[in-house]
């Protein structure tokens, strides 16, 4: 899930200073779960905008704001309200915001700062465990990702800042390499048995593009 945090109201106020009327867009997926762009937050934002003397011409919550075609279709359904607005304010991750900017010529603002791909520990507590590096090393590291959970993304063991098994960058956090070490303690394979080569960052070419070919639809496990 994509974890985001809301931009602070003062910043938003500054962004909106030249606009009188706003159309609001939320997202029913990640943004709802991490409480930045669900029904509740869209409603609260509407109240805040109106208290500040702005018109809210309408609002909608997309099922998944990252679905480009569906976002375009939904936006067409609200054409009049969108037309009436000076600006669209999107409360979803940056991907969702760009589905919207992709299908309207109106100015589009985003009201959140997207942070990371997160696991949910429990409600309201999220942890980053994978940063989608494109060259996955989990099979060698006992299923614990050093690219993401080591503050320096090291691949061959801990740095000199590790103290009593904790990370130099965040003392509350166990060093990722201590976790990997304990997990692999009784295995001869894995990262400790050889030099791990530098990562192939060409796999992380930007902007990412991925096309499923027709065959993989027909024969998924070939």
């Amino acid at each position: 899930m994509i974890i985001s945090s809301p931009k602070d109201r003062q910043k938003l106020e500054h962004l909106l200073q030249n606009y009188r009327s706003v159309f609001l867009v939320g997202c029913g997926s990640c943004a709802t779960v991490c409480k930045v762009g669900g029904e509740e937050e869209v409603f609260a934002t509407q109240e805040w905008l109106e208290e500040g003397g702005r018109d809210v011409t309408g609002s909608m919550i997309l099922d998944e704001a990252c679905h480009i075609m569906r976002a375009a279709r939904e936006l067409r359904r609200f054409r009049d309200q969108v037309e009436e607005a000076d600006v669209l304010l999107v409360l979803s991750c940056g991907a969702g915001a760009q589905s919207i900017s992709d299908c309207t010529d109106k100015p589009v603002l985003t009201g959140v700062d997207p942070l990371f791909l997160g696991n949910v520990r429990r409600f309201g507590q999220y942890e980053e465990k994978c940063s989608l590096c494109g060259d996955c090393i989990l099979n060698e590291t006992g299923g614990i990702c050093p690219v993401t959970t080591c503050a320096k993304g090291l691949l061959n063991g801990p740095c000199g800042g590790m103290e009593d098994g904790h990370c130099e960058v965040d003392h509350e956090q166990e060093c990722a390499w201590v976790r990997i070490y304990h997990r692999l303690e009784n295995q001869t394979q894995g990262v400790f048995s050889h030099i791990v080569e530098p990562k192939d960052w060409s796999r992380k070419f930007k902007p990412g593009k991925h096309l499923l070919d027709r065959k993989s639809f027909a024969e998924p496990h070939k």
Partner: protein, 285 residues
């Protein structure tokens, strides 16, 4: 090769110290410090130490070479990707710099540019291996070099860090990737040096024990709170507190650590932070 490497390889006791490049363009003070370090075998030149931006250590190392000193160029993986690192290393070789200390580097969170992007494209093991390649005339992408550099490479070790077995695994990797010597972080507890050398001594790679001059209690407390991997034990804090002249007590403590090194290691790496004038006292037997 370098005098430093000759002396180490001949099994003799070596002494290194360090200089930080200036925060600015004037190298006068750094060269004055170097003058006080004529008595040591080689001088480490730190690389944006503590993640604080300063002059390039490559530039200062070259100036030291010109003045007849033997620098150990510190190179961290924090600020440059593999292309920039290799290109700087070729430059270093062309400028007559032979000794390298290859490090991971402190995280930018500790420094004066906290908003900068941490690079860590390589880790210290991969950088060591990359340097072997360069010396064999091949870059990290497998391309041939028109001419190959020659270096004497070292790496860092943290004898006080736990879990010890994990630390050893990384040290083994560094040795497998051509580390010719280790300079350690400051260790204040003799049993830690003993047990570390019991294991690492078996690899026959020279270890230079990190010896840090404690100037007063405040500095010791700062190290404990702020510097990753450095822990001044309570009994030393008490010793510094209980005397009229804490600096002199600090020199005494450093002398004790140098004596452990003479007994157990093959050298010392002195960190004196502006009191290089006290080095002769610290080294006095």
């Amino acid at each position: 090769m370098s005098f430093f490497s000759d002396k180490l390889q001949a099994g003799r006791f070596v002494i290194t110290a360090e200089i930080a490049p200036p925060k600015g363009t004037d190298v006068e003070a750094a060269l004055a410090t170097a003058e006080q370090l004529r008595i040591v075998d080689a001088i480490n030149v730190t690389d944006n130490q503590g993640a604080c931006m300063r002059m390039s250590p490559l530039a200062l190392s070259r100036l030291l070479v010109e003045q007849g000193y033997e620098p150990i160029l510190q190179v961290t993986c924090r600020d440059r990707n593999r292309m920039a690192l290799q290109s700087d290393l070729l430059g270093a070789s062309a400028l007559g710099i032979e000794n390298l200390l290859l490090l991971t580097g402190d995280h930018p969170r500790f420094g004066d540019h906290t908003a900068s992007r941490p690079v860590f494209d390589l880790d210290s093991v991969q950088l060591l291996k990359g340097v072997i390649g360069l010396q064999n005339g091949i870059d990290m992408a497998g391309n041939r070099l028109a001419s190959a550099p020659r270096f004497f490479t070292g790496a860092a070790a943290a004898p006080a860090a736990e879990p010890r077995q994990l630390v050893i695994r990384k040290i083994e990797k560094k040795i497998n990737c051509g580390a010719n010597f280790f300079q350690t972080q400051a260790v204040f507890h003799r049993p830690q040096v003993e047990s570390f050398m019991e294991t690492v001594g078996n690899y026959k790679v020279p270890v230079l024990l990190g010896v840090l001059l404690l100037k007063n209690t405040r500095m010791a407390q700062f190290l404990n709170a702020q510097i990753p991997g450095v822990q001044v034990p309570l009994n030393l804090l008490k010793r510094l507190e209980g005397v009229d002249d804490p600096l002199q007590e600090g020199v005494q403590i450093a002398r004790e650590m140098v004596s452990w090194a003479r007994e157990l290691c093959q050298g010392v790496h002195l960190m004196t932070f502006g009191r290089e004038d006290l080095i002769p006292q610290i080294l006095a037997e």
